[in-house]
Structure formats: structure tokens, C-alpha cells
Amino acid sequence: MNSVGEACTDLKREYDQCFNRWFAEKFLKGDRSGDPCTETFRKYQRCVQKAIKEKDIPIDGVEFMGPNKDNST
């Protein structure tokens, strides 16, 4: 799967690989030791946030799970 920023796809893949390993081997097993992916995530985010601004994609301004709060279960 590609990134919305064409130049970011490689950084994204590198981050995803790191995350998947951490998620399966640490997070799901309740291991709360440090996250080894912060640096790769930072590099990837720098690239992708720039691409999002360039493409004018309106991702800001909504709280996490924000719209959901209006909808009742």
C-alpha cells in the first residue's frame, strides 16, 4: 500500500515493518517497554504531513473519535 505522498512510501514501509513487529511482539503481550519506532515514525510523519498540507487534505480540527460522540450506541 502506498502513501498519499509519493516520496513517503519507503519511509512508510520502514515504519510499518517496525510497528508491526512491536505491536505483535510487545504491545499485544502487555510488554510496556519502550517503543523502538519513534525515530522512524518521526521521519515518516515529517514527510507525510508535508504531503498532506501540499494536497490540502483537511485532516485537522476533528477530535479523536470526535464525530462519534454525537452518535449514540
Binding site: S3, N20, F27, N68
Partner: protein, 267 residues
């Protein structure tokens, strides 16, 4: 003395000649057909090449009259044998309509829940009737946000998705909650809810109905996609119970893999 008299008699009528010809013709025809088949998880493009070999047996009866007029009657019997070779190329890409996927926010909370926000870009496939109504310049891609919470302690995965653009035309929000099934241990239940609205003047009701109908019909595909992803995971470790597979599905949700199990926004 004897005389030898030779007598000639001539037939003043025309002479008729009859001939029978047998011709064998071999024709080779090449046909090319293209067929497109759509499978559940992949798009197959089939190219068929047909080779036809025709064997024709012709029986000709020619009647010639000596005043140089020929009448030929040919009867051909052709037997065609067609051999079709179909080559199917499966583009094994589960969600070809999902073009890009990016994580834009991620956090592990104090109570060890994983919060993520993803930005997805998908094709905007309008039905035929809508293509005529809406300008051809309308963007063919839809941006979607997916917020998710993975809670390994309570063993639940909650996702919430909504579209960022084309919201006047149709706004779709969907929430999925994956949890252990209380009544049936070792199984997972998925609860899906969707909210659809449209602000197109005069058409909001039919558009909402259309959206809802499409969501329901796409459910089948979505669930098959989820089953496919899970079977792949289970293929790796056949002894795994389904619960762990769902967690791994959660892992794949947050990863680079395409997300067929996610509630898709088919606008």
C-alpha cells in the same frame, strides 16, 4: 468385288461433359477474445486466444456444355475445430479501490490502549446515473479518516471511519466494535453501525437510501475480505484460536497491508 463402305454417322446434338471435382480446403482462422472476470478477492483479466482449424470438403459438380458455358455447383462442408487458450492473470490485490493508507497519529495511553488515526484515499466510484448528474470534474478520490482504539486488556478493537470530502453529496460514518462473544466463547463478535446523510437539495432522501443499500450490499464483500485476511494469518499458525487472529487482524489493520476488513466507504 466387295466394297468397303465406311459409314459415318454424326450426332448433330451438343456434347455434354460431366465432371466431378473433389476439393479439400484447409482454412486457419485466428480469433481473439478478451473476457474480464471479477473474483471476490482479485480482479482477473482473461485473454483468450482461439485457433480455429477448418477442414472443408467441397464437392463440385460441373456441367459443361460445349458452347463453353460452365455451371459449377459447389457444396462445401466445413468442420471447424476451435481451441481456446485462456490465460488468467489474477491481480491479487484485495482492495484495489484503496489507493493510499497513512498513519497520521499514534499514541499509547497510560492504560495501555493504542490510539491511531489513519488517512485513507479511495477511488470514488459513482453509479452510472450519478455520473450524468455530477460534473465530470468531480474528484474521483475520497479521503477517509479512520480512528481506532486497540484495547488488549479488555480485548476489544473499536474503529470509527468517516469521509472528509464529498460530504455534501454523502457523508458516511461507520463504527465497528470487535469483542469476545459472551455467549460463544472462542469466537469474536463484530458490531457495525453506520450513519449516512446527504445535503443535496431535493435528493437527500434517495441518496441516503442509495448509500445505505450500497453499504448493506458491500458488507458481504467486506466480510469476505476479513475472512481472507484472517485465513492468511491462520495459515501462518493453524493452531491459533480466532481471538488471537482478530488481534492480529488488528495488527494488520494498523499496518501496511490493505484493509479489507475495515468498513469501507463505498460512495
Amino acid at each position: 468385288m466387295k466394297e468397303n463402305i465406311l459409314t459415318y454417322t454424326s450426332n448433330p446434338e451438343s456434347l455434354l461433359l460431366t465432371c466431378v471435382c473433389v476439393c479439400v480446403c484447409v482454412c486457419v482462422c485466428v480469433c481473439v477474445c478478451v473476457c474480464v472476470c471479477v473474483c471476490v478477492w482479485c480482479v482477473c483479466v482473461c485473454v483468450c486466444v482461439c485457433v480455429c482449424v477448418c477442414v472443408c470438403v467441397c464437392v463440385c459438380v460441373c456441367v459443361c456444355v460445349c458452347v463453353c458455358v460452365c455451371v459449377c455447383v459447389c457444396v462445401c462442408v466445413c468442420v471447424c475445430v476451435c481451441v481456446c487458450v485462456c490465460v488468467c492473470v489474477c491481480v491479487v490485490s484485495i482492495s484495489t479501490h484503496v489507493l493510499t493508507e497513512d498513519v497520521v497519529y499514534r499514541e499509547v495511553t497510560a492504560d495501555n490502549r493504542l490510539l491511531s488515526r489513519r488517512l485513507l484515499m479511495k477511488t470514488n466510484r459513482l453509479p452510472r446515473w450519478a455520473e450524468h448528474i455530477f460534473p465530470s470534474g468531480i474528484s474521483r478520490s475520497v479521503y477517509i479518516i479512520e480512528d481506532s482504539i486497540v484495547d488488549p486488556v479488555n480485548r476489544s478493537l473499536t474503529t470509527y471511519t468517516w469521509n472528509l470530502n464529498h460530504t455534501t453529496l454523502m457523508s458516511v460514518e461507520e463504527r465497528c466494535v470487535f469483542q469476545d462473544t459472551v455467549e460463544q466463547p472462542a469466537t469474536t463478535q463484530l458490531k457495525r453501525e453506520a450513519w449516512i446523510s446527504s445535503s443535496v437539495y431535493g435528493f437527500s432522501r434517495p441518496i441516503q437510501e442509495f448509500g445505505l443499500a450500497r453499504l448493506k450490499s458491500n458488507q458481504v464483500k467486506s466480510m469476505k475480505g476479513l475472512e481472507y485476511a484472517l485465513s492468511n494469518l491462520q495459515g501462518e499458525a493453524p493452531q491459533r484460536p480466532l481471538r488471537d487472529s482478530v488481534k492480529d487482524a488488528a495488527k494488520s489493520l494498523a499496518s501496511a497491508a490493505a484493509a479489507p476488513q475495515k468498513p469501507q466507504q463505498y460512495i
